[in-house]
């Protein structure tokens, strides 16, 4: 019987990495990133990667680890943000960067998984994003044609998953993970909790197991917070909780 469960990230990556490959990695900022698989890819030493991910982690965490190790040749992202090394490598010409509007990036990945080679969107018309791309009018509005994105390998992070690869995400850690799971020629999922089939509500599965080739329970989750913002408890509430 086919077996999808692997003992750890290193085992799950066995045989699927090669230099020059295209990698999709789920997450938005540091939220919902497959941190165990990223660490194992760093340790594997694979090089020349094209990485499709909304962001590229931060210095010292998430995909930032692969940037630091010089394993990434090109990023396809919507946001560099506060990642200094990313910005610096790009500005110095050491890293190729293809900026995509976030929604276009998400839809290109969905299209890749859904067998749709191209679609039209209003996003980016009249900007550098549309340069060199076909534009076209529908009902008096101008749209740009965007192509699908797929990858040799997709790595995603879910909250819970079962041994058949059915996945459930938690809160805003869902983000790009469900689409990426559909767009990898091979898809690996890491989960915080691996369950037996039947433990997940069948009406509530975000990624059906068909999309997941291998699954593992992550050894540890740091789940680092990028921008901790809080508010003080107000007096009334503080009293209540005493």
């Amino acid at each position: 019987m086919a077996q999808k469960v692997f003992a750890d990230a290193e085992a799950a990556l066995d045989g699927v990495l090669f230099d020059g490959m295209t990698l999709m990695s789920g997450g938005f900022g540091l939220c919902g990133i497959p941190e165990n698989l990223i660490r194992a890819i760093r340790d594997s030493g694979v090089r020349g990667l094209t990485v499709i991910s909304n962001n590229c982690g931060v210095d010292g965490f998430g995909l930032g680890l692969l940037l630091e190790a010089g394993q990434i040749d090109k990023m396809i992202s919507s946001y560099v943000g506060e990642n200094k090394l990313f910005e610096q490598l790009y500005l110095s010409g050491k890293l190729q960067l293809e900026f995509n509007p976030q929604g276009t990036l998400a839809e290109r990945i969905r299209a890749g998984g859904a067998g749709i080679p191209a679609f039209f969107t209003k996003t980016g018309v009249g900007t550098v994003v549309a340069e060199g791309k076909e534009t076209r009018d529908f009902d008096g509005e101008t749209y740009v044609m965007e192509r699908a994105l797929t990858a040799d390998l997709a790595i995603v992070k879910a909250w819970r998953g079962d041994t058949e690869g059915n996945l459930v995400y938690r809160k805003t850690a869902r983000n790009f993970n469900p689409m990426m799971a559909t767009a990898g020629r091979v898809t690996l999922a890491e989960v915080e909790e691996l369950t037996a089939p039947g433990a997940l509500d069948k009406d509530m599965i975000h990624t059906p197991g068909i999309y997941v080739d291998r699954i593992l329970q992550g050894a540890t989750y740091e789940k680092r917070i990028e921008q901790l913002t809080t508010r003080p408890r107000d007096a009334a509430r503080a009293q209540e909780s005493v």
Partner: protein
């Protein structure tokens, strides 16, 4: 007297209507949430995949799985829902969000917006801004009237790479409020001024051509 950041946010909040679904950008637009009238139901969308964004968590209660598009920790409300990035931008691109309030670096008199990069200097990326200005039904930009150098930010044409062409409906600066007929030919019109700010001062600090509302 120029408006403060909070006063600009309060003015932007006047664009809200009961029942609106709204996306607020980073910076001053975030402050708009503090000015939603008590009798009004306004639901905030966060483009990383949430509808019904609540306030920041109490100290010690932050959840790393719950952040907004600015990557700040936030909370949920009773009617919140979560969804994927593809579903979030389907919502945005499909015109289901009534209003987007976001920051700007430059706005042209035709409604072009630049707010995502300064070539060779700042490479943050556009994130969801291009999708928001292309998809949301009404786009309001809140920004300082001039740069720190004093250079105007309301221009005949933007010099920075565009976020969108003919996308801005209203600009709120610290000096006044401008309406833009982005779908027509009427151009830009000054419709309000901050207290004690003269038309002459605004004209001096604005490169864009604008009319003055009667």
């Amino acid at each position: 007297m120029a408006w403060t950041r909070d006063q600009m946010a309060a003015r932007a909040a006047q664009e809200l209507r009961d029942g609106f679904y709204v996306n607020l950008g980073i910076g001053i637009p975030t402050l708009v949430a503090n000015h939603i009238p008590a009798h009004m139901t306004v639901t905030l969308q966060s483009e990383n995949g949430m509808l019904g964004m609540g306030p920041f968590p109490f100290e010690g209660e932050a959840d790393p799985d719950l952040i907004n598009a600015g990557k700040q920790t936030i909370t949920e409300l009773p009617d919140s829902s979560y969804f994927s990035s593809a579903d979030s931008f389907a919502m945005i691109r499909g015109g289901h969000i009534a209003l987007s309030i976001l920051g700007g670096m430059q706005v042209s008199q035709d409604g072009d917006l630049a707010n995502w990069m300064v070539p060779g200097k700042m490479v943050k990326g556009m994130g969801g801004a291009m999708d928001l200005v292309a998809g949301v039904r009404r786009v309001v930009v809140v920004m300082d009237h001039v740069e720190k150098s004093g250079a105007p930010k309301l221009l005949t044409a933007c010099t920075l790479p565009l976020t969108g062409k003919r996308v801005v409906d209203l600009v709120i600066t610290d000096l006044g409020v401008f309406e833009i007929d982005r779908r027509g030919a009427a151009g830009m019109t000054l419709i309000e001024r901050a207290p004690e700010v003269s038309v002459a001062e605004i004209q001096a600090k604005t490169q864009a051509q604008f009319k003055i509302a009667a």
